[in-house]
Each structure stands twice: as structure tokens, then as C-alpha cells.
Subunit: 344 residues, 2 copies
């Protein structure tokens, strides 16, 4: 076939725009493209590479004839509209948290568990941005030795909270430099020259929902319900690019040369680690590229079996749009997309 | 006696200014105050609370008659001048890294190991800012259970790198908002809306010197040469206030109520932890106060014996000036300061 009818749900958001860019730049076989959004922005136009795209209202009927939906309009929108799209024959790659832990929905990072796509019943879930970035760096290390436990602390950019949060970072920083106050709206607390250890809502065990995504999503993607991982998630005054300080404990001492080799050879991951030349990943390096960057690799002075990594990735790309389009490509390759697709 | 002759060495720096403020606000018994600095700023004036203080050149002779030196002018200055001051009868509380690991020099956080002051031979070392802030939060937990291991990731403000770095944060942020480049000078990389996982110089084992200060200084302060702790140190675009994401593994499961109680009752530490009201420490809370703030306390989902903390402190106060003045107060109380002092 010449291509698929692709709908981008949430097309006016930051991730939606990255999805559009990624679909076009990767030359995903598109016969027809539909940009969909809520009543708030439907009727507007999205421009990319000199082309204007009309944004239509996201209704159940809008999914008639659609083969693939890339959805990033929020969990409540996916809850309502994803089943409607599936009912009409589409496969939905959902970037929201809505279906990630649904046992009937595969949660996929294609480089790690593309095989899980075979089980899809119309919806495939994209992991949370921080999980996707972390596991891209961690998964290649599973051949070095068995991973016993991970402790991760994040430095997450405001674009993870949407366009309004990026505007808020800029506006509140300008206000702060002018000696003025700025009341937070998109974020929980003032972000200008500050840190906010609070992303998503608090749970009974004291973790935030964002932090428990590391635990729950990693267990599902690694197909290891006992996998031990603890996260602390912090919003930092950076626009794009999530960084993560990662401590990995293996079941035995590991050869650091093998760790580097595994990172260097992993697809979608780039080793960026040379203390002698002050080479290590920064958000400004990761923003706008597809690869997850890994540096500051070193054996842990506090544990013979542990290592430390510093991982940085573009949360809008690897953490969202790129992962979703890679899922779509994998679905297409496996014949799991389009009118002739097979359903589990 | 009516008071001591006190010299502040490095009086024109950020920590020096905090030392002046702290000495005055805490009513440390001062008979005479001498502000000393290098040739670059000697001859200038430092103002505090409406009083102008002349800054003199720091020469060996400037320490004649001085009882107490609070030093924060860099390691090389302390290397040369601290022995000269001691030779002339002064006790030097040194905020630089120069003497911290010297076995003949006590390294002291007064709330934790004031007893070590008895051993001083004229020089007492102040710990690194990140170590002081961390241990204030961690030391009270040693009564709950034995600590087996700590993994800490920092979010360090630019004031840790001095006044020039604070100016650089502001100027480079203005430039970034205006779409202009700004070459870093005080810091290793551009800090505006960015993260720099590189503080102090790299060591052969891949850690930075800053990171190994956690390991070396904690072992000395806790008098436990095997204490297991690993740090990752990251500079963040914040002016004042260091934050630390801390994972502590004990030798047994701990009662979280006891953890909270230990933090709540510790001197110099404030519990700031109520998820229901989105209460947790931020740098903007910690900047300008003496207490170390602790929040986000929770049992670790990845380990039955581990907990997580989020710790924030003013790096210029608790991490430097306040700790130094508390040492001086403790020395004075113990009769270890002034002409009648006893030396080990």
C-alpha cells in the first residue's frame, strides 16, 4: 500500500508538534494526515516545514478511516477517544498514562520489547518520558550482568508539563530578573531559579505518581514484576531535556569497559563520556536530537557491584514523539497496522 | 574577657560576607574585627548593617594579635597564610578544602563532632557545603538504625562557585532570553537553562573531587573510615541553596515515624514534609535561613531497609559561614580560643 491514514490527537501541544515533525522527517508512509485537537484549539492551523495543517475537532467520527492514531492530548481524552478510534479500525499509540498499566495494552520501547506489540488489541502505550530515557540507557546493560536495583534522581525540564510550563519558565525568569513576583499556574511552585521536587500527584506511600511510573513501567517493559527501582523526580529550570542521575547495582562486580562498550553499541544511545575533555551530556546537547546521551560512567565507591551513570534525553522526542513513531514503524513492519492488520 | 580579635580572610567574597553577617548577628564576642583580602580587593570597603568596614591586605603580619581567623579565600591562600596566623597565636577556622583531610586537623560540624575540636593544633577545617548540609540531615538518623550506605545526587546552586558564578547565571540567563550566546567563564559550561554534571576537577576513578568530598569528609566526621557513600554532583541554574536527593540504606527496616521524629528533633534541622499541602523544601525556602530543610521522606519501594530524603540548605550559611562561626563559638565555650587557650 502507498501509506496509512494517520491522525495526531493533541496536535497543537508540544508533543503533538513533535509527532508531526517526526512522522514527516522519518518519512513514515502517510497517505493522509489528520490533525485533531479539542474545541479549544480546533479550527486553528499548525505549520511545519512551510506547510499549514488545518486542525479538526477530535470527535469519535473523526477517526473514520484512520489507520493509526498518535495520541497525546491527556489521559482523559485518551480514555474517551482511544476506544472510539479502535472501534473504527485504528491502532492507537497512546502517549498518556491512561492505558500504560492496563494488562491488555502493550507498553513498548521498540528497541527493548517490540515483541510485545504482537499482543496489542488496538491500543499500544508509550512509556513516561523519564522511563523511556532511563531504560534506553539501562537496557543494554542487562547483558553485562543481572541488575539488582536502580536508584534514580531526575532533573526534569518544564516541557514535560507542556507549552504553558515552558512559557511560565520564561516569563517567571524574566520577572525574577526584574525583581518581580510571578504566581505559578502551569507548575506546582515557582520554577524561576528554583527546584520543585513534586511532579504529578502524591500517593499514599509518599512517592509521587511520576516517581512510581519508574517502578511500574520498568517492571512491565522488562517483564519482571519484582524489578527493584526507586525514583525521585524533580522539576528544574530547563526548557527541554530530562537528565537522570542513575545508580545501578548488579548481582556481581562488572567490568567498566564492558559497560561502556554496551552503551556505545546500543541503538538510540550515544556514549558521551570523556572527563579529560570535560565531555558529558547536558540538556542543551540532548534537546533536538533523537539519541539518549550517557556519560559520567564510573564504578561506585560505595558498593563493589554498583555503577553510576548520568543520562540525558529529549523528553519530547525519545521520551514521547520518537518512541511513538518508532512503535508505529514497528507495527507497520510487523503487519500490525492498516486494514489488513491482525489483532491478538 | 570582653571579646576576641577576629579576622575574616576573604572578606570580599560571598562566604566572607556571610561570615561577617553571621559573626555580627549571632553576637559572637568580638573586641576587634579585621577584614582581610588579597591585593585585588584590599583597600576596598565592605558594608554591613549600615557600617563600612575597611578591607586590609592579607599578609602574615596582618595576623599579629588575632585570636580567630575565619578563612574563605581559596585553598592556596589558606595553605600559605593559615600557618602564619597559627604561628602568631590565632586559631584558624578554614572553609577551604586545603586542610580537611589532614589527619592533624579536626573536620567539624559542631552539632555532630564538636568533641574533635579538642585535638586542634591551631587549624580547624569546615566541611564542604554539600557534606555539611547532607550530614546535618543524616547524622540524627544514626540513632534509628545503623546506616549501611548512602547514594546522593546533588542540585547545587551557582553561589557555591562564588560571586562571579552568580553574576554569570544572571547575565547568561538574560542573554539566553534575548536569544544571545554567552561564553561561560566562572563555570565549566553554560548554566542558563542548563545542567552541568561537573563540579571541581575529575579524578582517576571518574568521580569529581567535589563528589569524593562526600566520601572522604563523611568518613572523617563520622569517624568511620569504611563508611559507604557515593555522590553525583550537578550544578543547576539556581543562585543560592543546595538540594540533595538522598537514598539511605540501613542495616534493618526502620520505622518511618522514628525517622521523622529524629529529623524533627534535631538541632539545626527542620522537618518540612507534608504531601497533602504540597509542603517540601525548595532552594527559595532555604536561601537566607540557618536550618537545613528535610522533606519528601518515604520508605524506598526498591529496598526494605532504605529510605529517601530531599534535603535543602543554604550553602553559604549552613554549608560555610554558619558552620564556621558555630565552630568558633564551640571553641570559645571550650576555652580553646584566645591567649589562654590550650593546644593539643
Amino acid at each position: 500500500m502507498s501509506g496509512y491514514t494517520v491522525a495526531i490527537l493533541g496536535a497543537t501541544g508540544m508533543v503533538g508538534h513533535e509527532m508531526l515533525r517526526t512522522v514527516i522527517e522519518r518519512r513514515f508512509p502517510v497517505a493522509k494526515l489528520k490533525l485533531l485537537a479539542s474545541a479549544r484549539t480546533a479550527g486553528s492551523t499548525v505549520s511545519f516545514a512551510g506547510v499549514d495543517y488545518a486542525v479538526e475537532l477530535a470527535t469519535p467520527e473523526a477517526f473514520e478511516g484512520v489507520d493509526l492514531v498518535l495520541a497525546s492530548a491527556g489521559a482523559s481524552v485518551s480514555r474517551t477517544l482511544a476506544p472510539e478510534a479502535v472501534k473504527r479500525g485504528a491502532v492507537v499509540v497512546d502517549n498518556t498514562s491512561e492505558f500504560r498499566m492496563d494488562p491488555t495494552v502493550p507498553l513498548v520501547i521498540p528497541e527493548i520489547n517490540a515483541h510485545a506489540l504482537n499482543e496489542h488489541r488496538g491500543i499500544v502505550a508509550n512509556p513516561n518520558c523519564s522511563t523511556a530515557i532511563l531504560l534506553m540507557a539501562v537496557a543494554p546493560l542487562r547483558v553485562v550482568a543481572k541488575i539488582e536495583r536502580i536508584v534514580v534522581s531526575t532533573y526534569q525540564s518544564v516541557s514535560g508539563a507542556g507549552k504553558e510550563a515552558v512559557d511560565e519558565l520564561e516569563e517567571s525568569t524574566r520577572a525574577s530578573l526584574a525583581g518581580q513576583d510571578h504566581a505559578p499556574q502551569a507548575l506546582n511552585k515557582p520554577i524561576a531559579f528554583n527546584l520543585i521536587p513534586h511532579i504529578d500527584v502524591f500517593q499514599d506511600n509518599g512517592y509521587t505518581k511520576e516517581e512510581l511510573k519508574f517502578t511500574n513501567e520498568t517492571r512491565k517493559i522488562f517483564e519482571d514484576p519484582e524489578f527493584r527501582i526507586s525514583g525521585t523526580c524533580v522539576r528544574v529550570p530547563v526548557a527541554v531535556g530530562h537528565a537522570e542521575s542513575v545508580n545501578i547495582e548488579f548481582d556481581r562486580p562488572v567490568d567498566m569497559a564492558k559497560v561502556r562498550e554496551a552503551i556505545a553499541h546500543a541503538s538510540g544511545v550515544r556514549l558521551m563520556d570523556d572527563p579529560a575533555t570535560a565531555t558529558y551530556p547536558q540538556p542543551t546537547d540532548a534537546a533536538g536530537i533523537d539519541d539518549v546521551l550517557v556519560g559520567r560512567i564510573r564504578g561506585d565507591v560505595s558498593h563493589p557491584n554498583a555503577i553510576n551513570l548520568w543520562v540525558v534525553g529529549d523528553n519530547l522526542r525519545r521520551g514521547a514523539a520518537l518512541n511513538a513513531v518508532l512503535i508505529a514503524e514497528s507495527l507497520a513492519e510487523q503487519g500490525l497496522l492498516g486494514p489488513s492488520r491482525t489483532l491478538a
